[in-house]
């Protein structure tokens, strides 16, 4: 008997403007011990399927057709009570947005312990021991101390791992993992995937793995289902689907997977669905101030910046424990270049970005922009500097004001800087939303009505709307499927080319980094261990950690336009 069967599932979001069909007649079956990959376009309805199985569709979403069966019993019509008894114990889910999935007011340990104790008959101390063990197994160092910390003290990737730990701790039969490794560097990603594979193998757990990372799909899954705009377009054994895709969408998707080995001028674009296949950058670049400085001249000079956080609260300052997140990092970003920052999850990449943006005061070191000191103090950074820079946050959702409509969010910077107003502004917003693949009609919605990847694109649109000269991208495309990712990255490249836009590009996706960046810095444990030209780094890494990282890069051999051979 199949563990989980989804038949003809249709999910609708009735709003007053339209009734949006997020999932249409979807089929999916998970057998015990099987890892079922779910890929597809951003906004295709992957997360919605997961939420529907859990009975946790965000209102006003509801299942309007089809059945979901768990071990042969229908669960789609169950009442709240019965559903609640299934959750966690039988089926658990890792939500896509790890940063908002954790209650900010409870320590990670508390949340783990309560979940464990809700399902397993364990004492407080046993549960805690188990929690620490789990934290350790998902690769978070110093687990014993970490359990007493609050979610906001964790890096993006660490929070994602905590969410994974939370989903696994109750020993469920089915795990729905929605992009569980987006924010993780390759080595940790491998570790997590091994963990999941182990569970499938040993405990016969059925897994639905939602991801946009074709490498992960190839590596991990047994079966794969491809979705496009709410519909299942193709399904079958992974090797078959990836190796010989039958549906045009699948084909174009595979074609868009970034090449890890060769540097291309632009990412290949999909021509399926016929939306955006390149456009004149001139539109976007209209009245965008061209960078004045000379290309190649140092723009941002970072000298020995450090950041430490209080890790142990104490009444006396001398008793406090500190944790050094960034340990005197120095590097220079040149005018018009894309500087990549890669490294271990939790190694301080976001912290560096935030210090440069002036969101964290530095605990040491200086930041200069165009030769002027812009080091962040507790009062932030100078106003003029703020106008020059922009940042795409790692967590797209919490960086969007939940009470503002998307068009207001995107229009705000332009309106604020007095760039445009009235109809011109509305047109610009519509254009931006269109460029990132959302469509102008998305403007009237609120952030919570979007899928993970769509939210990320809103945040990109907003960043572009300010027309910055220096753009900090913290994992800008982690939640995007490869086709949309390619589209976005091409825009960034165009901007770089045409306007000399300078970027700090944080990513764990090494193929993307290779395509995007001119130079790359590698971080580990708060230290910048290596900085080099991209090609040099990829071809001849110096530092052992860099070498280790590169060796773990998923190898998708035989990548062709038609499909790819699974290693």
């Amino acid at each position: 008997m199949a563990l989980l069967e989804i038949e003809n599932l249709t999910v609708q979001f009735p709003t007053r403007r339209e009734t949006f069909v997020a999932v249409k007649d979807a089929h999916l079956t998970v057998e015990p011990g099987q890892i079922h990959g779910l890929v597809g376009e951003s906004g295709a309805g992957k997360s919605t399927i997961g939420a529907a199985v859990m009975g946790l569709l965000d209102p006003p979403g509801k299942i309007t057709g089809g059945v979901i069966r768990f071990r042969g019993e229908e669960i789609s019509g169950l009442d709240a009570e019965a559903m609640a008894s299934l959750r966690g114990r039988k089926i658990s889910m890792i939500f896509q947005d790890p940063l908002t999935s954790l209650n900010p007011l409870f320590t990670v340990g508390q949340q783990l312990v309560e979940t464990i104790r809700a399902h397993l008959h364990l004492s407080e101390t046993e549960a805690l021991a188990r929690a620490i063990n789990l934290i350790d197994r998902v690769g978070i160092p110093d687990a014993r101390a970490r359990v007493n910390q609050y979610p906001h003290q964790f890096s993006g990737g660490m929070r994602q791992r905590v969410v994974i730990a939370l989903a696994l701790c109750s020993e469920p039969d089915v795990i729905i993992a929605d992009e569980p490794t987006t924010a993780l560097d390759v080595s940790i990603q491998a570790q997590i995937l091994d963990l999941i594979k182990g569970l499938a193998r040993e405990r016969r757990v059925g897994v639905i793995l939602i991801t946009h990372d074709m490498g992960v799909i190839a590596d991990t899954t047994d079966v794969v289902t491809v979705m496009y705009r709410g519909e299942v377009v193709e399904s079958g054994p992974t090797a078959r689907v990836l190796g010989a895709p039958s549906h045009p969408y699948t084909k174009s998707l595979i074609a868009a997977v970034p090449r890890p080995t060769v540097k291309l001028h632009r990412f290949p674009l999909i021509d399926y669905g016929g939306r955006v296949t390149g456009f004149a950058i001139a539109d976007l670049a209209r009245n965008w101030p061209k960078s004045t400085g000379e290309r190649g001249a140092p723009l941002i000079e970072i000298e020995g910046i450090s950041k430490r956080f209080v890790s142990k609260q104490a009444i006396l300052p001398s008793r406090r424990g500190y944790f050094t997140a960034v340990d005197s990092a120095s590097f220079t970003i040149r005018q018009g270049e894309v500087f990549g920052l890669v490294g271990e999850s939790g190694s301080g990449k976001s912290t560096i970005a935030r210090m440069i943006a002036g969101l964290y005061p530095v605990d040491g070191g200086t930041v200069r922009y165009g030769g002027r000191d812009v080091t962040a103090t507790t009062r932030g950074v100078p106003d003029w500097y703020r106008r020059e820079i922009q940042m795409i946050f790692q967590d797209p959702y919490s960086s969007l004001n939940p009470r503002m409509r998307v068009d207001e969010i995107v229009a705000e910077p332009a309106r604020h800087h007095g760039l445009l107003k009235g109809q011109a502004l509305r047109n610009r917003v519509a254009e931006l939303l269109d460029r990132v693949g959302l469509g102008a009609e998305a403007g009237v919605k609120f952030p919570h009505e979007f899928s993970g990847g769509q939210r990320q694109r809103i945040s990109i649109a907003r960043a572009l709307a300010t027309q910055p000269r220096f753009l900090i991208c913290d994992e800008p495309t982690s939640a995007l499927d490869v086709s949309i990712q390619a589209q976005i990255l091409n825009i960034l490249k165009d901007l770089q080319d045409h306007l000399g836009l300078t970027m700090l590009f944080i990513s764990h996706d090494l193929p993307v980094v290779r395509q995007m960046c001119d130079r790359v810095g590698v971080m580990k444990d708060g230290k910048l261990v290596e900085v080099a030209e991209t090609e040099t780094l990829f071809e001849a890494p110096q530092h052992p950690y860099t070498q280790h990282l590169l060796s773990l890069m998923p190898r998708l051999d035989g990548l062709s336009d038609e499909g790819l051979a699974v290693a």
Binding site: M54, S92, L105, F106, H119
Partner: protein
């Protein structure tokens, strides 16, 4: 932390000084105590003599200065109305008010939170909406009216509960408590309901509105996905996230219950500080008013300090 509290205490001293100054500037407008202190057969000399001996002819800041000087030596003066040391009077009256405040505060908090969570969970349910509407009666009718209606129903018609007073009290080390006798406990019922009704409604509505917001957050959804019990989700996860405004308001309300439960105490002839204060205003009993306002100020400063510390205790993001 220690330095924060220390700084706050220093600031409180400043607050206290300002309160005193404002208070003494204000007393001129409350009236003239001399008229209430002297019988109708007083002469102009009597008035003058009394004014002089009470120091009422001095400018207010001089009066204030003298008050401060004496207060620093622990002397809060003699009540004009009762002719007894103010400190003694306040000490006598405080237990009644504190006990009433404790009971009605607890009532308001428990009911307010319970009903608030309930009405938030059953947002569209009939009973939740009925509770929401009914609770408004408590805040749109004057306290006085509610008190009197309760008295008439439960004391006059049904004769279940006493109409006034604290019942029998027992002295426990200088503290007169009504908690230890049956009549004392019974006497607490009506006043605490009257007093707590407003706070209950306020807390309930606050909890509800904050809960509605929190219940849609992703972490609540994830808490459900983790299979936590409804109780844990509502009362642990959701509730805690609503607490910042709730404790703010609760703190302030508790403060004003203690400080200005004037109407309830008058209606129920509850011998607390609220009654004392209204009498002091009527009588222009400056020493009582001054000492009392100082006390209130200390109390509010204390409550607000606790509230501010609670913020940090509740929300780790504020610790930095």
């Amino acid at each position: 932390m220690v330095s924060y509290i220390f700084r706050r205490i220093l600031q409180s001293v400043l607050v206290l000084l300002v309160v005193g100054l404002v208070a003494f500037a204000m007393f001129r407008f409350v009236g003239d105590p001399v008229d209430t202190m002297l019988g109708q057969e007083r002469t102009v000399q009597d008035i003058e003599r009394l004014r002089e001996s009470l120091g009422l002819n001095d400018p207010f800041f001089v009066q204030y200065w003298n008050f401060l000087g004496r207060a620093l030596q622990g002397d809060l003066g003699i009540s004009y109305r009762q002719g007894r040391p103010v400190a003694e009077i306040i000490a006598e009256r405080l237990p009644a008010t504190l006990e009433l405040a404790a009971v009605s505060g607890t009532f308001a908090l428990l009911m307010g939170i319970g009903l608030g969570v309930f009405t938030a969970i059953r947002r569209h349910g009939f009973s939740a909406n009925a509770i929401m509407a009914l609770s408004l009666i408590g805040v749109s009718l004057p306290t006085f009216l509610i008190g009197i209606l309760l008295i008439y129903l439960f004391a006059v018609e049904l004769r279940w509960l006493p109409s006034f007073g604290r019942g029998e009290t027992v002295m426990v080390g200088g503290w007169s408590t009504g908690f230890l006798t049956q009549s004392g406990l019974i006497a607490l019922i009506l006043p605490s309901i009257t007093l707590g009704l407003y706070q209950m409604t306020l807390i309930m509505r606050l909890v509800r509105s904050e809960m509605l917001e929190v219940m849609r957050q992703d972490y609540i959804r994830f808490a459900r996905a983790r299979g936590l019990s409804q109780r844990a989700i509502h009362f642990r996860h959701a509730l805690k996230n609503t607490l910042v405004p709730v404790i703010t308001v609760t703190g302030l309300q508790l403060g004003s219950i203690i400080a200005f439960a004037i109407i309830t105490e008058t209606v129920f002839q509850w011998p607390g500080v609220g009654l004392l204060f209204i009498n002091a205003i009527q009588f222009v009993d400056i020493p009582v008013m001054a000492a009392y306002l100082m006390l209130i100020s200390v109390m509010f400063v204390g409550i607000n300090l606790i509230v501010d510390l609670l913020y940090v205790a509740i929300d780790p993001r504020l610790r930095s």
